[in-house]
Each structure stands twice: as structure tokens, then as C-alpha cells.
Amino acid sequence: MAKILVADDSASMRQMVEFTLKEAGHQVVVAEDGQAALNLARGMTADLVITDVNMPNMDGITLIRELRALPAFKFTPILTLTTESTTEKKMEGKDAGATGWIVKPFNPEKLLMTVNKVLG
């Protein structure tokens, strides 16, 4: 079981990700934008962060930069949820310090597959 921080401004995506991960036995903490996720992160550790890229208040890219500046999240795997399949867009996340990405649309099986890949 791992502790996973999830940030997405879309309630349906958030629900789906949360539900899927919980069903797989993980502990999930959710945030509805980057700022909320960062606030949560300041008071916790996590084994994995999954974040949307486009969010109000603080976008995913900024969130990743801010997280990487926190000692507790320096090496934590961070995955972005992105609809972009172009290299350029994915790289934006990578440049900010993301570990990898999950391309939307995805289904629960694909999500779990990717998460397991990272968590080992």
C-alpha cells in the first residue's frame, strides 16, 4: 500500500482516480488544484504524486516545481495527467521535474498499470 497525493480540478477525474487507487488498496489524498495540493504536501509525505497539468490557482507545472523544492518531495515520483501526446507538452512537465506522465484518456487499468510501474 502506498500513499498517493492526487491533484485534479475535474471532480469526475478526481473521483475516478481516487476510487481506482483506493480499490487497489492505496491511501489517497486529493486536492482540487495545485495550491491545495501544495498546502497538503507541506504537511505530509507521499510515495507518489499524480497531478493534472491545467488547473486553476496553481497549474501542475508550477506545483511540480514547488514540490521539488520541498525536501520531502525531492525524489518522490510525480506523474502528470496530460491530454497532450506531443513531445513538447510532455517535456514541459519533465523540465519542471516530473517523473513521467499518463496520457488522457486513460482507464482505471492503465492508471494502475502505470502507478504500479512507478511504485514497483
Binding site: 480499490e23 491545467n54 486553476p56 501526446s85 516530473a98 482505471p108
Partner: protein
Amino acid sequence: MAIDIGQFVQTFFEESLEGLDIMEAGLLALPPGAVDMEQINTIFRAVHSIKGGSGTFGFQDLTAFAHVMETLLDRMRQGQMDVTSEAVNTLLESVDCLREMLVAARAGAAVDNDRVEHLRERLHLLLNQVNVAVSEHTASPSPVSPTTTPPTGWRINFQPHSDLMHNGNDPVRLFRELSTLGELTVRCDPRQLPHLAKLKPEDCYLSWELELQGTVSHEELVEVFAWVEDDCDLRIEALAKEPTASNPVVARTPGEEGQQGELLLERRKSEDRRQSDRRGPAPADTASIRVGIDKVDAVINLVGELVTTQSMLSVLGVDFDMSRLDKLHEALDQLDRNTRDLQEHVMRIRMMPVSSVFSRFPRMVHDISGKLGKQVELRINGEQTELDKTVIEKIGDPLVHLVRNSLDHGLEPPAERLEQGKPETGAIMLNAYHKSGSIFIEVGDDGRGLNRDALLRKGLDAGLLKPGEDYSDEQIHDLIFHPGLSTAAQISDVSGRGVGMDVVRRNIQDLGGSIQIGSQRGQGTQITICLPLTLAILDGQLVSIGQDCYIIPLLSIVESVQLRAGSVNRVAGRGEVLRFRGQHLPILRLYQMFGAEGAVTDLEKGLLVVVEADGRQVGLFVDDLQGQQQVSIKSMEKNFRRVPGVSGATILGDGRVGLILDISGLIRVNNAVT
């Protein structure tokens, strides 16, 4: 593990519809030519979410359409495209279209494909107009020759950059993943390791030579290394029998990306097929309310208190004796308090901010004022004011009507305004607020106002007013609510008010509310709607008439007076009136209207309850006042029919039925008679 994503579809629809409202509001607030990055970003995010969600939940049509909109907005966001009014209007239409598609998808219905196609073409046209130079990123077919025969294995030279682990990647994870594809041999090259004193523990100094045995496609390998392709030097060679097939590949080329994309697509297709079997027909559209967690918590708290009170009472009841009467009273008081609080908070769950109704007006005002060639500024206030969900659902049409009237007839064209020394841009005000247990919604404009003289003339012609009488402004303005007068042909030329004001008034009255109009010639018109906080409960004053008991809504009561002999006059044509605070107050003998038996008939022996509705007052003559209590409103129409003068019924404390008086109905009847 199979997870049914159908359970999140409803949320997706709800948030997407909200997203569309955000887009619409954002687009309307976007001044042409201006570069409001924050605004464009907000709009972009909304459509982006819809695209992402619709893909995940299997609505491919929506994804495709949202994608084009997103591309357009992205160009605007990147400054590659100007914000023209043409683009904004096309996007607004696309918002409508997307909304229809969403609604149709939710209902499992079909959409107007021609319209979708047509709009998509227009969006593409806009895209192409500005951006011939920026190429679409659809990958051109790969020039790289695909591996014809799958190799028996791969040799991989993997040299991570020193910062590979800084973004949370880990070579060991990659090896683990590779080992799931085939038999993996790992050889580590530690030659770059520095002296311990110089070693930074966060950096990577090792590199690896890997051999993977098995029929693994090149794409699969690339996918394993996709996240680290920029953080390492990677060389992948096929372990082939014939030496010519040795095919060194640098991490990635555009062509491969195309292939990878196709691969993903195919896999998704088969997954989709599996899921569509499971998903079945679209879920039925059940009405739901989104409630803030704080509201729910408050109710849970109160239930907690109620449970405490209940246990207190049951302890008291075990062996009760009169010495503990005080305790019992105390507990009953607490129960009373708990019940009231709980009731109030449960009601609040049904309350929604009026913004859900107001939000449609910016778009409407934008569209109509454009058509009419008028310049209009819409000022909205108090949109967070909460109303009962049922009221919210039913107040929309009347408000649309009133705002339209203000736009059509109230506001003057710019030239006329300038002539009158007014600013060119007219104003429409929408305002909502709470006051003394009611909700008020105002629709105002600074237009030409009502024409009192013309209305008076019409009133006289129609026989609604009597010549030679003195009428107050209110009485005259009130004529626009008269069904016979408020038709377009008769009145729009004289009053600046359109059709159907009688319908508006009736709709408001059906909600238990009232409507008033105030107007100043040349200065504007203001319509004030007063609505009850909730449709389910009201504070009532019980009154007795003969053997019967009726309920008067407390809110409509001005005061109760005892009549003195000789204070009431009979006025020809107006019935009985009381000289009361400087005005003539008509008296309604309720026992007569209701045919009650055994009632007090002598005015001096009963009571006069002065009530007000729609800005008018009458005195209701009753036998006596009984108690006051909160009553829950029940429908008379469900099993019976509408009863004139009665707005509903309730169950009284003794289990009997009490009828609730319809004050505006009674006042109307009085006016019709006199």
C-alpha cells in the same frame, strides 16, 4: 480488477456543464482585441477538462469537438491568434453546441450532426485563416522503415545523465519493467564513479549495458524509456541473426511517435469494446443537488444534538414523577429548539445561489443588445443569495421576460439616450438580497420608464379606471399586469413594456411571491419580486372564522386592529372602507366570502387583520386571532383542486387540516369586485 467508470459519468456531466457556463461567462467578458491571459486561460482550462473527461468516459464525439475548440483557444493563449469578435461568437456558438452534445449524451439521445460538422468547419476555418505557418502536429507517416521481422532480442546501452534521479526516476524501476518483457541481463559500468569524497549521493554515476531476450517490439522498449529519454543517452540495437538488420536507433523520432500513437489507439479500441459491453445504456437522468459539505456537517451536528435530547427524554420517562416536571419542560424546550434548527438546516440543503439563474443573462444581454443595436451594461449584484431549488427552477422564465422587456422596450437606442443627456450605454441592474425572511430580486433599467399618461388613457378606454377619479402612480403602473392591457399591440408603443406581464405575475404568485413595479418617466423602471425563503414552510397566524380555522402568512400581516363604532364607511362601488392611517382600507368580510357559519358578523365584535400583497393593503375581518405557528405547506390540488382564496393547506397541531389564505388572490378578488 474491474472498475466501473460509469459511476463517475454523472459527475462528469455536471462539472462539464458548469465548465461550459464558465466558458460562456469568460467569453462574454473577453473584450475583442484585448489579451486577457488569465481569462483565456480559464476558458482554455474548462474546455481542456471537458476534452479530457469525455475521452476517459468514452464520448469520442465530444472529445473531437472539444479538441478543435481547445486548439483555437490554445492559439489565442499563445498569442498566435487574435481575439476577434468573430472568433468569440463562433466559440460561443460552439459552447452551445457542446452543451447540446453533452445533454444529448446524458440522455442517450442523438445530436444534430450537421450543426456539429458545420461549426467544426467554421472553427477549422478560423484556425487556418491565421495559421498557415504553424503546422498541425499530426505526425506525417513515418519514413523510418518498420522492422519487418521481429528480432529475437535487444541490446540496450543506457547511460543516465547525472541528474536522472532528480525527477524521481530510478534506473532499477526501468530494469524491473524491462524484466517483465523478457529475459534481462544487466551489466553495470561503474567507471564514472568518483572518489567517495567527491560523490554526490543524489547524482547518478553508473551506466548499464542491458540485453533483453524475447520477441519485444521496438515501441515497447521506447515506451519503457519514454520518461527518461531526455535524461540519458540511449542506444537500442536489435539482436539479429543477420548482421545487416542491426539498426541503431536514437531515442525517438517523430515517425515512431506516430506508430506509438497508433498502437495506443488500437489497444484502446479493444479496451473500449470490453467496456462498452459493461457500460450498457446511459444512466437515467436523476435530479440531484450538489450540496456543500458544511451544510451536511451542520445537519449531522444537529442530529447529534437531537439524539442527545431524545435520550434525555427517554431517561426522564422511565420513572417520571411530578418533582421532575422542570426537567421535562427543559428537555421539551430543547427538543423544540433542536427541531427548529434541524428543520432550518435541512431546508438550507435545498437552497442554491441565484447565480445559477443570473448566469444566463450576460449571454442573453450580449446577444439581444447586439441585435437591437443598443449598448448595454449589465450590473449583477447579490448572485450568492440563496433560494429554494424549486424557486430557482421556476424563477428563470419570469426573469428572462423582465430582462427582455428592459432590453426591448425600456432602454432607448444610443442616439436617443444622448439626446436626453444620458450616457450612451444603458444599464440593466439585476439584484438579489435577503430581507426580513423573504428574498427580493430586482430587475431595473435606466431607460425611458413607463408613460403614466398613456397608461391612464388606456386604462380609461378599457374601462378599468373611472374618469374623474384620482389614481396613484402605483395604481396606474399596476395596469401593465392586467391581462387585458399588457399585450404588445396595445401597450408597447405607449409604455415601453411588452407582453405577458400578467403571466409573469401569475408565475410569481404561484411561487407564493409578489411583484411590484416602480417607474419614473425618463429615468427608468424597477421591478421588485418578493419570494418566500422556502416553498415548504411558512410562519402562520391562525385565525378563527366561525367554526373554521384559517392561516394567514405572518409575512403579509401589517397589523391587527379592533374596530370602533362608526369608523367604517360604505363607499359606493367600493364596498366598506376603513379610514386607516390616512388611506381608505377596503374591508373583506371573510365569513361572507367563504360562507362560514356561526361567525361574528358585527364589525366591532371581531378583529380586522390588515394584510399587504403586491403593494396593496386590505383588512380581513375575522372572529379572533389564535396562535402563531410554523406550518408545512401541503397541496390542495393533488387530490382536490385549486380553491379560490386559498393557497394551500397544512396539518394543524391537533391533526386537523387548516387552510392557508392566498392574500394576493383575495386582494385581486377585492379589486375585481370593487
